[in-house]
Amino acid sequence: MDTVFAYRQGTSFLHKTLHPFTKMVVFLVIVILSGLWLDIRYLLPLLLVGFVLAYIARVPAKLFLFIVFALALTWFPTVRSTIAQARPEYFKVLDPEWAATGILTVNVPFLGLERLGLTYGSLYWLAGRVCRFATVVTWAIVFLYTTPISDIANTLYALKTPPSIVFVVQITYKFIPYMASIISQIQDAQKLRGWHLRTLNLVKVFKRSLPLANPLMRRTAMIVEQVTIATQVRGFGSGKVTPLRDLNLSWLDKGLIAFFIGGLLFAFVAMALWKVGMI
């Protein structure tokens, strides 16, 4: 079964041709750019390129449902932040008057809030925020779908990253799908005993979370113990780790790395001088 943020073998250009280090650099640049920019006019092309790459790598479309799921889970802080963007002085690039035009606003004369609600500007901000999140997740899915963790680990070792950091990355990545399958198994086992969460009573919700939480904690503790044993007996933590491969970048890789790092530097300058990416 395909799992979000998990690697799957493939024959695409992204799987076979690009060096993991190049993919790491490109992904990092995209994450930084998405963090810098909030203007949907700049973020949207990044998102679209992400989708094109996902298509090339044959990433199953259903994995992107994670974006919807995660956005749905975080609706409350998102709405809270959106309605707080109703004041004109928050906007540096957009016309403050247009941005502050209210769709549904209220004045709050305490706690220094002054004005809350939906304005053109707050909706523009919301679109940028959703696009930023979708961009980072899309590129993360593509990166992890096309790059095995062993390659990431070897690259990190070759870059002299401390072994403990590499190992944490490696184990987290390896056990995401494993833990996901255990959670789903526990949930299924309890469903077969009539368990459900269909109630609005918060006390009941808490009580009914125990049939999931207790076995999950127990299983997690067991897995942590077993993984600790399995790593210790294979000498993890003995000292210096030998990287299995050198970086060996091709000219294509070097070119792409230079292009993206150059692009990032230009984005910094453009933002500082011309407020590119800001709203």
Partner: protein
């Protein structure tokens, strides 16, 4: 040279009260290049003993140690676990938690790379280990895409690449299909013979035959103490072996029973090969030419099954376009039948079970899935579970409540039954596995057998007509297995339940099932009585299945002595040999 010396070694975990040791006053020595089996029921202290070999107890699993454990000349008190890793390697039960990389080759290199060895040395060790574990053809494969047996061989290769002097295996085959078990045990044997490594392997009973094939010494432990220690034949013949509930290989059991019948042998075998040779010699010596079943021996149970309760027709399931997990499976199960589903890891057994309880839906539209004549494909799960239910293999996936009573009462409470009905159903469910005396015990710290009985008892208050149980005998000793199967039979006989078990334990299937279905690569390839199915040894190999040892003994003797190829139990073989010896004029 001695590779292991335990000197009055005792260990108590932090949570144990004083005097409640996990291991008590163990003193033994293990010579270089030997293969030692540590046998005992679940909780006897086997895993603790294995962990003590490289200091995991007390350094990772904290507790109090007395006495010393000397491995490869090093006192484990004075070294860290990762320092001892160069001397002692451990292979755990579950291969999944021992694999860290995404290619077989990289995973084998994980250990040597951690030791900071030069790259040439790492590649040499990886090549040697992969060759020894017979994984050459899988070097570039993703470990998630190989079979359970291959994954366990990979875990072994990962340890071999560390080039330890001692290798310890903690129930290495308990999660594998029969051929996977055989493959792993063969690798273990070859590695020891070739490299002179000392191997220690633990076993709680179900795979005692596989262990007996490879060990040259057995230490039986019970409640943390050594009960028996000696050569395998002597230990496995000892009457005290029954006390620890591990059981004996079927050939050993056969020869001991034949001895009781007055047929003496120069020695009691512990392996199939030896058993076949000794029995053939004895039969020749006695002038027996044919092994025939006594005419009064009932080869068929007279069971009155009801109308079909489960109907499955043309069920397909695709997890994704590349993974076709079920390929048009069709069958019917009548009421009150006990059915065993067997097959290699990944053959589709669990996917099929998940369809039967509505956790998965067929991916084709023209399939039929009916329970008691009702189409369950569009039925809600809360309705299905009162008709057919499924118990997962690992009790830890479901147990959560404070006491046994609360755990069993959970399901009827969830479906909003009145409290007096909850009480009645809970009490009724507890009787099936005699849990009444334990009803107030805390779930935490329950023994494996109680956890297994409890996980099945938990769904009984929902009163399903069909019970699907995944590996009901895993983790149980021989007595526990007998109790489990007697209770399931009682559920069938007294409550009219239909029982479907998914298992790798061929002895359980041979001894207790009315019917066996064999799955292979998403297909149902064989379906019949255990006799019919186990008699077709060559077709079974396609599904990586080996019949029970006693059946294989009969098959091995069939060429010379025309022994029936469908012998299912030790008692049946005793009856055949005894009858054939006593009736030579007829048999000759």
């Amino acid at each position: 040279m001695k590779s292991i010396e335990a000197k009055d070694f005792s260990f108590r975990y932090l949570h144990q009260a004083e005097g409640e040791n996990a291991l008590s006053n163990l003193s033994f020595e293990v010579e270089d290049a030997s293969v030692v089996g540590i046998i005992g029921r679940a909780g006897a202290g086997k895993s603790t003993l294995v962990k003590s070999l490289n200091g995991l107890v007390p350094k990772v699993d904290l507790g109090y140690q007395q006495g010393d454990m000397i491995v490869d000349g090093l006192n484990t008190r004075q070294y860290d676990v990762n320092q001892l890793a160069r001397h002692v390697g451990i292979v755990l039960q579950n291969p999944e938690v021992q694999i860290f990389s995404l290619t077989v080759g990289d995973d084998v290199a994980f250990g040597p790379a951690n030791l900071g060895l030069p790259r040439d040395e790492i590649f040499r060790r990886v090549a040697d280990a992969i060759r020894a574990a017979e994984l050459e053809h899988l070097v570039d494969r993703n470990p998630n895409d190989i079979s359970g047996g291959e994954q366990q061989c990979l875990a072994i290769a990962g340890i071999l690449a560390m080039e330890p002097k001692i290798m310890a295996f903690d129930e290495p085959v308990s999660m594998l299909d029969p051929l996977g078990k055989q493959r792993v045990m063969n690798i273990l044997k070859q590695v020891t013979r070739r490299s002179g490594t000392t191997s220690i392997t633990t076993e709680s009973g179900a795979d005692i035959e596989a262990v007996a094939e490879v060990v040259d010494r057995i230490i039986a432990i019970d409640q943390g103490k050594i009960l028996l220690d000696g050569d395998p034949a002597t230990v496995l013949q000892d009457e005290r072996i029954n006390q620890i509930g591990v059981g004996r290989p079927q050939v050993t059991e056969l020869f001991l029973k034949l001895k009781e019948q007055g047929i003496s042998f120069e020695r009691i075998p512990i392996t199939l090969e030896e058993g076949e040779r000794l029995l053939a010699e004895k039969l020749r010596q006695l002038g027996v030419k044919r092994l025939v079943r006594p005419p009064d021996f009932r080869t068929q149970q007279i069971n009155h099954f009801g109308p079909p309760v489960v109907e499955v027709e043309n069920v397909h399931h695709f997890y994704n376009p590349q993974v076709h997990a079920l390929k048009g499976v069709s069958f019917k199960i009548p009421e009150r039948q006990i059915v065993g589903i067997i097959g290699q890891n990944g053959s589709g057994k669990t996917t099929l079970a998940r369809h039967l309880v509505g956790l998965l839906k067929p991916t084709n539209k023209d399939s039929v899935l009916k329970v008691k004549g009702v189409d369950i494909k569009k039925m809600r799960l809360d309705k299905i579970i009162r008709m057919i239910n499924y118990v997962f293999q690992n009790p830890d996936d479901q147990l959560f409540a404070e006491t046994i009573w609360d755990e069993i009462a959970f399901a009827p409470r969830m479906i909003d039954l009145p409290e007096d009905e909850v009480k009645r159903l809970t009490e009724e469910a507890m009787k099936v596995f005699d849990l009444e005396a334990h009803k107030d015990r805390y779930i935490f710290g329950l023994d494996e057998d109680l956890k297994t009985y409890l996980s099945i008892s938990c769904i009984l208050p929902l009163q399903p007509d069909v019970l699907l149980i995944d590996e009901p005998t895993t983790g149980l000793d021989e007595q526990g297995e007998v109790k489990m199967m007697q209770s399931l039979r009682m559920l069938r006989d007294e409550m009219g339940k239909t029982i479907v078990i998914i298992t790798h334990n061929m002895k359980t299937v041979g001894n207790h099932c009315d019917r066996v279905m064999v799955m292979s690569k998403g297909n149902l390839i064989m379906d019949g009585t255990p006799r019919e199915v186990f008699a077709q040894d060559e077709k079974l190999l396609e599904a990586d299945i080996l019949p029970p040892q006693i059946t294989r003994l009969g098959q091995a003797l069939s060429k010379e002595f025309e022994c029936p190829k469908d012998v299912l139990t030790v008692d049946e073989m005793v009856a055949i040999v005894d009858f054939s010896v006593k009736n030579k004029p007829h048999g000759a």
